[in-house]
């Protein structure tokens, strides 16, 4: 198999509703196939059979002709890491799965994980606030696979999953938000408590167990049982709308008071990204947040969302090494990072002049 090329995922293209705050919307459904133990505790042989079954089911459908099949055992650690960084697979699938695989649609908006904790994790990820659309996409592939496979479904508990937190709809809907103003002013803390009370969870950029960096947070539903999919999605959507409103109000207050400082911050960020010689990913993420805020407030026009999203992903270790074409130590990565950023910024300037 040829090495995985570095490519832009659909969500990285940017745009979509509320794009100045919502980076992406994602919906995933967990499903298991009748007659086999759940992947996370199953013997390898059983997982191999599940994998073959799913592959065969997809092979019979025209809709899957635009999908690439990638077995975790066949791709390098770097390639797996890059897929995690682009939110196309979970860290669990990359590191711990047995007979894990990915079916990835050409535009990278739909990715289907095989033998994650559950036999199937079908997910759609789109730019902007588009939860309904993401659910429609996920549901479409759910139906397609279900027409070939018997899913484990219980009339009382719904779709059965390995983890009790996914039982029912098996649905996890999440949005990636850029909340610089709420975080800088500390107002975010009011939300954190409130969100958990309405059954939502807030996490950092890379999911479970990751810190909030670059003023980016992921908000997702915690409850999967007892509500219809549409309810889960509209509940999340309406809470997100309120968070968006608060962030916008807070940004406006900041803009009125500190316009020059905010512009200065954005321009300095661009300057550092252009000319720095050594950059850690932590620092780069912070600079990208300052730059994004400046762009969203109309204080700087030298960038756009697509470029910002691309930079957000390529500064991560896996994508960075994939772009560099070789494995790099941490200190080497801090040298390679500014090189790749510079190249990307220059390419963007050329294309937009």
């Amino acid at each position: 198999m040829k090495p995985l090329q570095y490519s832009l995922s659909r969500w990285m293209e940017g745009g979509g509703p509320e794009a100045e705050i919502v980076i992406s919307s994602r919906v995933r459904a967990a499903r298991n196939i009748k007659g086999y133990p759940f992947s996370c505790l199953a013997p390898e042989q059983e997982n191999r059979e599940v994998l073959e079954k799913i592959k065969a089911a997809a092979a019979g459908k025209d809709e899957f002709s635009a999908f690439t099949f990638l077995a975790m055992d066949d791709i390098s650690g770097l390639e797996k890491q890059a897929l995690v960084e682009k939110h196309l697979i979970s860290p669990f699938l990359a590191r711990e799965s047995s007979c894990g695989a990915l079916l990835l649609r050409q535009d990278e908006a739909v990715s289907i994980m095989i033998n994650e904790e559950d036999h199937l994790r079908i997910q759609a990820i789109l730019p902007g606030l588009r939860l309904e659309e993401a659910w429609t996409e996920t549901g479409r592939y759910d139906d397609l696979l279900e027409s070939e496979l018997d899913f484990v479904f219980n009339e009382r508990y719904g779709y059965l999953t390995a983890c009790p937190t996914n039982v029912g709809t098996g649905l996890r809907a999440s949005v990636m938000l850029h909340l610089p103003s709420l975080i800088m002013t500390g107002q975010i803390n009011r939300f954190l408590g409130a969100l958990s009370q309405v059954g939502l969870t807030v996490r950092g950029l890379y999911g479970e167990g990751t810190e909030i960096v670059g003023n980016l947070v992921q908000v997702s539903n915690q409850v999967t049982l007892g509500h219809r999919e549409e309810e889960i999605i509209s509940n999340l959507g309406s809470v997100i709308s309120q968070v968006i409103e608060q962030e916008q109000t807070s940004r406006q207050v900041m803009l009125d008071k500190k316009r020059a400082e905010l512009a200065d911050k954005a321009w300095r960020a661009l300057g550092l990204l252009k000319y720095a010689q050594v950059l850690s990913s932590q620092e780069a993420i912070g600079l990208l947040s300052d730059l994004r805020l400046g762009y969203d407030l109309g204080l700087i026009k030298e960038v756009d969302h697509k470029l910002l999203n691309e930079l957000l992903v390529l500064i991560r270790p896996g994508c960075l090494q994939l772009l560099a074409g070789r494995e790099l130590e941490n200190s080497e990565r801090n040298l390679e990072r500014p090189v790749q950023i510079k190249e990307t910024l220059e390419r963007f300037r050329r294309e937009n002049n």
Binding site: F151, N154, R156, Y159, C163, G168, L171, G193, G209, V223
Partner: protein, 196 residues
């Protein structure tokens, strides 16, 4: 109420701990709670999830004899023991849901505040429901035909119904529950959920 730690901020988080069956309560403000690392919802909400399950389950264990019985049990299909489940927080297969149902049901209710699915039904199941409805309709028609003494047509219907029933049984040997899409009252707690 003020935070029991700093005595300054309003306490808006209640922490209930259950250690060896003894419960203790604490009221803290968000800041102190985070400092105590009792909860860390902003960064790592699922970090202690397994422990959380374990403590929820152990509580059930003490409460219910049935659950204590389940603790000795092993899933007949995948071999997962209850002890393993409460340690890793993962179920092994669909049969685990029956084996450990007595402990799982309260756990699910605590996590989701509900233990009844109201969402999507797989198309296959929907088709079976539709098939069954069709069958019910034919049975009604049969009644009418018999009442009207249209025996020839009734015999045709009867054969059709028999064939359909046989077909349904072959496809789905298990019992078909009624109306899965609606909010069912919780009174049928003792009844096992149908695994279709």
């Amino acid at each position: 109420m003020l935070c029991q730690q700093c005595h300054k901020n309003e306490a808006n988080i209640q922490i209930i701990k259950s250690v060896d069956g003894k419960q203790s309560e604490e009221f803290l403000c968000e800041q102190c709670a985070r400092e105590k690392e009792e909860l860390d919802f902003s960064f790592e909400p699922q970090f202690s999830l397994h422990k959380l399950f374990a403590s929820m389950l152990n509580q059930n264990l003490l409460e219910s004899r049935a659950a204590r019985h389940a603790a000795k049990n092993q899933c007949p299909e995948c071999g997962l023991s209850f002890a393993q489940f409460s340690q890793i927080g993962r179920l092994g297969c669909r049969a685990c849901f029956e084996t450990f149902e007595d402990s799982l049901k309260p756990l699910l209710r605590r996590i989701h505040a509900s233990s009844t699915h109201t969402g999507k039904i797989p198309l296959r199941t929907q088709r079976r429901v539709k098939y069954k409805r069709e069958l019910d309709q034919l049975k009604e028609e049969l009644q009418v035909k018999v009442q009207n003494e249209e025996f020839e047509e009734a015999a045709v219907l009867r054969d059709k119904i028999r064939a359909m029933e046989k077909d349904l049984e072959e496809k789905q040997p298990e019992k078909r529950p009624e109306d899965p899409g609606q909010d069912k009252p919780e009174k049928d707690d003792s009844e096992k959920g149908d695994q279709n």
